[in-house]
């Protein structure tokens, strides 16, 4: 608190304190990110992956599809027989591995983000309806989530992909419609606790329409958790897409993707370990960065977890 010239404390409103002493929220978040070394490193990894995805054509040293059979299975630059024109070596068809990795980032990011968006849209809507309407509709939606919980996403995805056939659009749809359960449960629980709160009852009392209450009063209070679940789901979806592609049920082999690259490299594991090792490492590193950043985000958005040092729940 500041002292006036006369020595008596002057009255300062909360808003003024905020304006004077606290930096902008974005600056605060950035500072917190800088303090948390693993999260900061993850952010850098994800920025690099995003750059690769957005500007593949500019960054990639070679055409990812150009086959040079004379240069089959060239090892990485630092080992015997390697050359810096192919820093990570080439695959069994003589294609540049680094360029394929850079292009592969596109698939992982597009599928991860789109699948999570679809999941969140379905899950949040159903969760809102179930929590807000209650009754029979709630029972039906909850029964469906029960069923979905009991079924392994991968088994359902495999069955559907086997029928639909491999394509990026199909992968996004399948992962999108199988992973909505978490959001639905979360949002429903939030709605159930929030709709008893005074501010919602007050809004109802003055005649605010249910739709408006849902979207203006209840949903904003659940966004934090939705963002946290969504961010962690991105990692899960990147791994799921890669797994489906590895099995030959995800991204078709014409498109460079990390999962397909691992599958292709598997055959040459004893003669060309790098073909399989690098794309897998890229999946692992990206998924781990997303998880670390998600954990940081959770601590950042939920101050009660900060005291414990770890996000325990």
């Amino acid at each position: 608190m500041t002292q006036s010239a006369a020595g008596t404390p002057s009255i300062v409103t909360l808003g003024q304190i905020n304006q004077r002493d606290r930096p902008h929220p974005a600056v605060q978040t950035l500072r917190s990110l800088l303090r948390n070394k693993p999260a900061f490193a993850s952010a850098i990894v994800l920025i690099v992956v995003t750059l690769c995805a957005v500007a593949s054509g500019v960054i990639a040293p070679h055409d990812p599809d150009r086959q040079t059979l004379a240069l089959r299975l060239v090892p990485p630059a630092w080992s015997d027989g390697g050359s810096w024109s192919h820093p990570l070596g080439t695959d069994a068809l003589g294609r540049d591995l680094l360029s394929r990795l850079i292009y592969g980032a596109r698939v992982s990011l597009i599928v991860g983000l789109s699948a999570v968006t679809i999941q969140a849209l379905i899950g949040v809507s159903l969760g809102l309806i179930a929590g807000f309407r209650g009754g029979r509709l709630d029972s039906i939606i909850m029964a469906v989530t029960d069923i979905q919980y009991a079924l392994p996403v991968l088994v359902v995805a495999i069955a559907i992909m086997a029928v639909l056939g491999p394509s990026m659009r199909n992968v996004i749809i399948v992962l999108g419609i199988t992973g909505w359960v978490y959001y639905a449960r979360l949002v429903r629980a939030q709605v159930l606790s929030l709709r008893e709160q005074d501010f919602v009852e007050a809004a109802q009392a003055i005649g605010v329409k249910p739709g408006r209450i849902m979207f203006r009063h209840i949903l904003p209070n659940a966004t934090t958790q939705i963002i946290v679940v969504g961010s962690l789901q991105v990692a899960a979806m990147i791994i799921s897409e890669a797994s489906l592609s590895f099995l030959g049920l995800g991204i078709p082999p014409e498109i460079p993707s990390w999962g397909v690259m691992v599958a292709e490299g598997r055959t040459y594991i004893s003669t060309g370990w790098w073909v399989c090792a690098f794309p897998g490492a890229a999946i692992f590193l990206t998924a781990m960065s997303v998880n670390l950043l998600g954990d940081w985000l959770r601590e950042e958005l939920d101050p009660s977890l900060k005291a414990s040092g770890f996000a325990d729940q």
């Binding site: 009991a150 088994v155 495999i158 069955a159 797994s243 594991i269 897998g280 692992f284």
Partner: protein, 305 residues
Amino acid sequence: MAPFLIQRLIRGILVLLAVSLIVFVLMHLTGDPAALMVPEGATADEVAEVRERMGFDRPILVQYVIFLKRAVTGDFGYSYRIQRPAFDLVVERIPATLRLMAASVGVSLAVALPVGVIAATHRNSLFDRISMVMILFGQSMPTFWFGIMAILIFPVRLGWLPTSGYKGPSYLVLPAITLGLYTSAVIARVLRSSLIEVLSRDYIRTARAKGLAGRQVLLRHAVKNAAIPVITVVGLQIGYLMGGSIITETVFGYPGMGLLAIQAIRGQDIPVLQSFVIFVAAIIVAINFLVDIAYMYLDPRVRYR
């Protein structure tokens, strides 16, 4: 007690009905199901014969009922890669897959229980921090890649352990570790946080105050209560293990249901794929039922709900 079990039983039946519906719809999405059920190059007469025999010319609802009746008796038609009932092919592979799943649950528990307990009782210690990093590793690792790298390092480079197939327990080591990796991480994480929560409760303080030894408090009072969320997670992981076993079996050429399913997909062997999906659902429902019974034993509150 009985109402709880009956409620769970009804849920299990609902799950199976839903799965049968998914399988049925998928079969029809592919176009003419009769065409799918005959070998490639079959004549129009043969297709018509199958259509009539399987009832594909009847109204769709009648067809679903017929499909359900057949499914209950395990009749999904013949596999058309191998001229044998699809159902039998899947059943033969079940012991191998269950063996792999059991081994990987064993690996997971052997790793996760000590790690979770030590991490929770020595919170923020070096061990705790290292185990948190390992948990993060386990959760971010693509199973299929881990399996291939394990093959590269152990059988290929070091000459230890076999690469693929199944001829004895040594063939189970790498697949069980690969499949159990993610589950270990999840169980360790849940056990740690649940034990930290339980250890801060009043009854633990009371037990300590009345002079019980630290180990006794931990084992008799804390671990049993902390086990409840862990059991839930193990139950939820069964689904993951089923999906993961498809990947693990493919990587290691392990002769289980998952490998059969992948071969069925590659060969467009729809009857085998159908039997597989229904069977997986049935196994998951059965295991979850056992998990519910374990619940009742551990948590008396469930019995009187």
